[in-house]
Amino acid sequence: MALVLSEDQQLLRDSARHFCQDNAPISVVRRLRDEKSELGYDEAIWRQMIELGWPGMAIAEKYGGFEFGYTGLGLVLEETGRTLASSPLISSVLLGASLLSEAGNEEQKSKLLPQIVAGDLRLAVGVDEGPHHAPSRVACSAVKEGTEYILTGTKSFILDGQTADKLLVSARTSGEPYSEGGISLFMLDANAQGLQIQRTTMVDSRNAANLVMDQVRVSEDSLLGVEGAGFTALDTTLDIARIGVASEMLGSVQEIFQRIVEYLKQREQFGVQIGAFQALQHRAAQMYSEIELCRSAVLGALRCLDDPSATAKDRAIMASLAKAKLSEVSETVSNEGIQMHGGIGMTDEFDIGFFLKRARVAQQFLGDASFHRDRYATLHNF
């Protein structure tokens, strides 16, 4: 498993970087926030991303995708992290399409995946039911009645939940909360009766929603996979998404660090550039080291997703490794981003605060450092 990029991958990364810098700079996030955008992303930019083929990056050719692998998708996400470009890539592609691929039957896949690639369908995935990530803690119930299931319960922190066409949710058909058995996956139309979707306004200005299901009836066709056996596909999907989010975080962390280093060279105090002060130099060098480790962790995890010989456990280990490491370093680097810029870093006029705000949401999303260290230890049998 090589840890250097192929020429194709480098080209992809460079073109993604230029696209984001030219078409989706941070000023877009600022505008979306100030306009209180309901979408949480820019529709026109998303259309361009679709034209670039980004939604189909990791989807099989037979479903209209380009089979460029998760490494390709990860590189794109990394570049979106550099400019904080929001889009349904995480919600609809990384989570939605992956869950369809992992759990859906042939009919569901061949009908829906091409629509996602073409940008005609937007999915969102509802996993958590409380303020902390806990995918096996499912209290939502799904009761079978004839050829229908009746779903009742709540879901929280659903990225792009309010703007999706369809929602994929986990619900319990048997078992106790926290048991992995008995979890089933369902697909709901956004306008299904009994479904309430409430947008939240979070600190990163993206779109996330809470969902209340009050006796929502869906046909049995809406079940993804086998009843009661949904957790494996869900967890694999989550691992893919965790690695994708870690890629995005990697882009942000590198961007913050680059801005710090530039500022250290430019800003003068007491007659010298502040980058000459050794205490700041050592902090910068330590961040550099940690970011190098982050780069390797993310690349290693992406490679693992693309490695046909890797097991689900291998992926789980790499996903928890990457998400734990990036969550930890993201906290340090985003804080240093403010501190090293001093007063100006605290002003809303300056961009660095957007990175800080996005960092904490990304850290929490799909499990924070503490969650993933715990999982990593369990996966290593201690």
Binding site: D128, G130, P131, H132, H133, S156, F157, Q198, R199, T200, T201, M202, V203, D204, S205, A208, N210, R267, Q269, F270, F277, A279, L280, E331, N335, I338, Q339, G342, G343, G345, M346, T347, D348, E349, G353, L356, K357, R360, V361, Q364, D368, S370, R373, D374
Partner: protein, 409 residues
């Protein structure tokens, strides 16, 4: 001791009679009294309370009675504070005039200046702001460029200041200006007082990452200030500035102290204590179910408690005249603690600690997000963490200064 006991009795009786009922309830942010020409009193009893306290000079208990202060000895002031605390009396007047300008004005001002300004500070009639930082000056405060040039019996002031708290609400400013351009930078600075209503003064509020803020940018365009408004000697304003900074530092290190008990203002809400929040947002009953977070919170509380003990020890030692842990160490550590506190609170609250707006979050939750963001400035304002560590290294530990070492060579 008899006199002091009598003082306590009479003070208690006076307070009993004069402190209005609503002034004995916990302060709410909207009712804080800042005074000034356009003073607002959301609660009419606040005005009553201020006036009564100001009549006795007890808004500034130890300041000389000659200038309207309370003229109390430090023992008497301590008793007054105890008696105020006993009935949970609110602070009658919050003011930079009291906490920052007053002490240096009493030390460096002329009799005429004191007669003019101190009584108005005591009574809350004039609200002051501080003109120190400038765009680009940062930690290197003395690099300031706002000019004051003497023309006849007036200084003409040009330049701008930044981070001026409540400049848009203040009546007067105490301001560092450059009055000599030929000498090393610390030597040409003077300390000037002037009216914010003067022609040529304008202000613009600064939006922070946490939302709106009391900070402003302040611009001076040919502002004419009477030469008599110079405080202290011409070109020797830097020593006044430094003295004033000590007061500010002591005030800010209090951040850490209030976080010392793990409380946010003594409320009984879910986010009042870290462990309470962590358990609430996990649905835990007896024991916090995330053991790594539990360990981190325990570590934080241990550090907070040790820090509170250190503040206490430092204040006792300074009373004893013994060696004290410096204000720089307390400022540094207190601010780091407060930042740590909010990072832990976010971890405790999960996605409910990341709200910005809207009905899906409690008011209290939204406030945590803003306070978390605001806390990032703790280690920047009032002297950065780096500056405090430099001061500890040089003044307390006696380590050599690289810049001066090299110059010596």
């Amino acid at each position: 001791m008899l006199a002091l006991e009598q003082f306590r009795d009479s003070t208690r009786a006076w307070l009993e009679e004069n402190c209005p009922p609503s002034m004995r309830t916990p302060m709410v942010p909207e009712e804080i009294v800042w005074g000034g020409r356009d003073a607002l009193f959301a609660n009419p009893e606040s005005k009553l309370w201020l006036d009564r306290m100001a009549d006795k000079g007890w808004t500034c208990p130890t300041w000389p009675a000659e200038y309207g202060g309370g003229g109390l000895s430090s023992e008497e002031a301590k008793i007054l504070a105890e008696e105020l605390g006993r009935i949970n009396a609110r602070v009658a007047l919050t003011s930079f005039g009291i906490s920052m300008l007053g002490p240096v004005l009493l030390e460096y001002g002329t009799h005429v200046q004191k007669m003019e300004h101190i009584p108005k500070i005591v009574r809350g009639e004039i609200r002051w702001c501080q003109g120190y930082s400038e765009p680009g000056s940062g930690s290197d405060l003395a690099s300031l460029g706002t000019k004051a040039i003497l023309e006849g019996d007036e200084y003409v002031v040009n330049g701008s200041k930044v981070w001026t708290s409540y400049a848009d609400k203040a009546d007067w400013i105490f301001c560092l200006v450059r009055t000599d351009f030929e000498v090393p930078k610390h030597s040409g600075i003077s300390f000037l007082l002037f009216d914010m209503a003067s022609k040529g003064v304008s202000t613009k509020p600064i939006q922070l990452i946490s939302g709106s803020s009391p900070f402003c940018e302040t611009f001076f365009d040919n502002v004419r200030v009477p030469a008599a408004n110079l405080m202290g000697r011409l070109n020797e304003g830097w020593s006044i500035a430094k003295r004033l900074l000590q007061h500010e530092r002591t005030m800010i290190s209090g951040f850490g102290l209030t976080s010392g008990q793990g409380d946010r203002g003594g409320t009984t809400s879910t986010t009042a204590s870290l462990e309470g929040a962590a358990m609430h947002y996990r649905g835990d009953k007896d024991r916090l179910s995330d053991p790594a977070l539990r360990d981190q919170i325990a570590q934080f509380k241990i550090d907070s408690e040790a820090f509170a003990l250190t503040s206490q020890r430092s204040s006792e030692e300074s009373k004893q005249g013994g060696p004290t842990a410096t204000s720089s160490m307390l400022k540094y550590y207190g601010c780091e603690l407060n930042k740590r506190r909010y990072e832990l609170l976010l971890k405790a609250m999960g996605s409910q600690g990341l709200g910005w707006d809207g009905d899906e979050f409690e008011e209290e939750e939204l406030q945590v997000t803003r306070e978390w963001l605001r806390s990032k400035a703790n280690s920047i304002e009032g002297g950065t963490a780096e500056v405090q560590l430099n001061i500890v290294a040089k003044r307390v530990l006696g380590l050599p200064d690289m810049l001066s070492l090299i110059n010596k060579k």
